[in-house]
Amino acid sequence: MLYRENGQFKTSYRADQQIFPIVQDRWAMLAILLIGFVLVPAFASDYMFRAILVPFLIMAMAAVGVNILVGYCGQISLGSGAFMAVGAYGAFNFFARIPGLPLIPALILGGLCATVFGILFGLPSLRVRGLYLAVATLAAQFFADWMFLRIKWFTMDTPSGSVSVSNLQVLGWPIESATSKYLFCLALLVLVALAAKNLVRSAIGREWMAIRDMDVAAAVIGIRPMYAKLSAFAVSSFIIGVAGALWAFVYLGAWEPAAFSVEMSFRLLFMVIIGGLGSIMGSFFGAAFIVVLPIFLNQFLPWAAGLVGFVISTAGVSHAEQMIFGALIVWFLIVEPHGLAKLWSTGKQKLRLWPFPH
């Protein structure tokens, strides 16, 4: 009743091709932005910002990047953690070595480092694909792990590669309080998500999808596989790199190479699977799910165990968490291979017809 599109006529191509063609969607999006920028900072607690909201925003940005590569271009990558690490350490190097470099250029330069790294390790995708490529991207992961641990130049000769940043500010506005961190990340995420959404709707996005669906056929109809694959690697690793720099600068503050281990790569991949491959919206769902689930389980499992008169240890919780993670991934792949985003769009589809089922 409330959510339907009949009666909304498009009289120009512009109107027909906008991101949210239905007026209710546009209002909903505006409302979400309003809530995000105004209501949440006014009401959320410090714990909410630090433990949930800031990690969610940064992970969502990384998931958008991974989704471009894995979901839209079909190149499975197990090396996303490495791209984050390169972004983080790249940005750190520019930030620490060039005195007075503002934060945003440092983040962008970090992203560009990740782009170069991504293109370099994306080169094998021209020759190999699918499972072979997934393993090949692990090379990027292990190489980055090693590089930031062993090559002292990247970490300014600190022992064990741990570095820290301080005095972050954007245009004279200090990024110290939880609220300012949140707003900064949110603003960047909105920009990145908008850019990504528009990219995947454009010609280059359609090339990626053609490569994903069948690269031989795509090449036959005149799509250059090299250009399409490498551009996907470049765009995706830029976004992941910026997210990595944010994760290090804004969320962690001080970090070491282990913060971007292969575990991180898997986590990012799970976000994309659970959220929905090939959907920008899905990246947000997936990130929210993966960020909130451990916190929820940490609270819920001891409580549930306590109900049946059983004490569960911290190790027990983390093992149970692993099991639930694994089971959920398998369950999602079997029941809903398109992830939470598909459930969302099915829900919207049903809502259009409501209250009549047909």
Partner: protein, 309 residues
């Protein structure tokens, strides 16, 4: 010269163990087209089961003989692996028939997490010992040929022999038995095999069981070398470039790939490592495999895939 040969032999021995883990990947990929990322978790799970059963069995039965405990633990752990294989087929793979390789890969990633969690919940997450009575003391060889001779680790030698025996056994199984023939038929073409009456589901259970046993043997050997602990899963990550190098579908590829990676790793660490800060063995294998893929995308012995639109 003696030192070089020592490194080389050490590399070959480690390589043999890598091939053992890689074999698990290849077996499953050959018969079902699933790239089994969970092989590492299976190795950990099997080793954990074996170590813990060997500890518990004397307490359960009251028989103190370590031989009996080890044999019984091996059998029990094997039974557990069979159960795991059956459950994986029943609960996961059956529902993912005809999905893309990528989906199946991610499903095995999920299985990895699940198995790691279950294994550590049931069997504990400390470091455990597997003691199957392997000789620990090193052995000297070629003392007359080279000055100082070559130091060979007896444990490695025994491990390599066990691995070689297992590989020979598996080749016999695949070449000579009717089940092996059926498995090869399934590997060639699922639909054709099914149409001549080969039960696909049962074949998958069998091949996962075989992979489970391979994981058990690999876990036993690695576990008695390094101790059973969580880091055993990283052994599987080390074995991945082996599969890539040898080709996903080739059993000899897994073995030769393992030897090449083992030797390459050791030699690079010894002769190249000092120049770049050491610790390069982890990524060197990957970069080696990657470089090779650029020249020959299907690996050493892999089948060339012809694409049609």
């Amino acid at each position: 010269m003696g030192f070089f040969l020592e490194t080389l032999i050490g590399g070959l021995m480690t390589g043999m163990l890598y091939s053992l883990v890689a074999l698990g990947f290849v077996l499953i990929f050959k018969a079902s087209g699933v790239f089994n990322f969970a092989q590492g978790a299976m190795v950990l799970f099997a080793a954990l089961a074996m170590a813990r059963f060997a500890e518990w069995i004397p307490a359960w039965t009251g028989i103190a003989s370590p031989v009996f405990a080890n044999v019984a633990a091996f059998v029990l752990a094997g039974a557990v692996m069979f159960a795991v294989a059956w459950l994986i087929e029943k609960l996961v793979l059956r529902h993912l028939v005809n999905q893309e390789g990528a989906t199946l890969l991610m499903a095995t990633l999920g299985i990895t997490y699940f198995l790691e969690g279950v294994g550590q919940t049931f069997f504990g997450s400390n470091i455990y010992k597997i003691d199957i009575g392997m000789p620990k003391d090193p052995m000297m060889a070629f003392e007359s040929t080279f000055q100082g001779g070559i130091l060979i680790n007896k444990e490695d030698l025994v491990a390599a022999l066990i691995a070689a025996a297992l590989v020979a056994l598996l080749s016999l199984f695949f070449q000579k038995t009717s089940t092996g023939r059926a498995l090869r038929a399934v590997a060639d073409d699922h639909q054709a095999a099914q149409s001549i009456g080969i039960p696909l589901a049962r074949m998958w259970v069998i091949v996962w069981c075989v992979a489970g046993v391979v994981a058990l043997v690999a876990g036993m050997i690695w576990g008695s070398k390094l101790g059973v602990q969580f880091s055993l899963t990283t052994v599987a990550l080390r074995a991945l470039p082996v599969v890539i190098l040898g080709g996903l579908t080739s059993v000899p590829g897994a073995i030769i790939g393992g030897l090449i990676i083992g030797v390459g790793e050791k030699l690079s660490e010894v002769y190249l490592g000092p120049f770049v800060g050491g610790g390069i063995e982890i990524w060197f294998a990957y970069v080696l495999a990657l470089g090779f893929l650029l020249v020959r995308p299907q690996g050493l012995f892999g089948e060339k895939i012809i694409d049609r639109v």
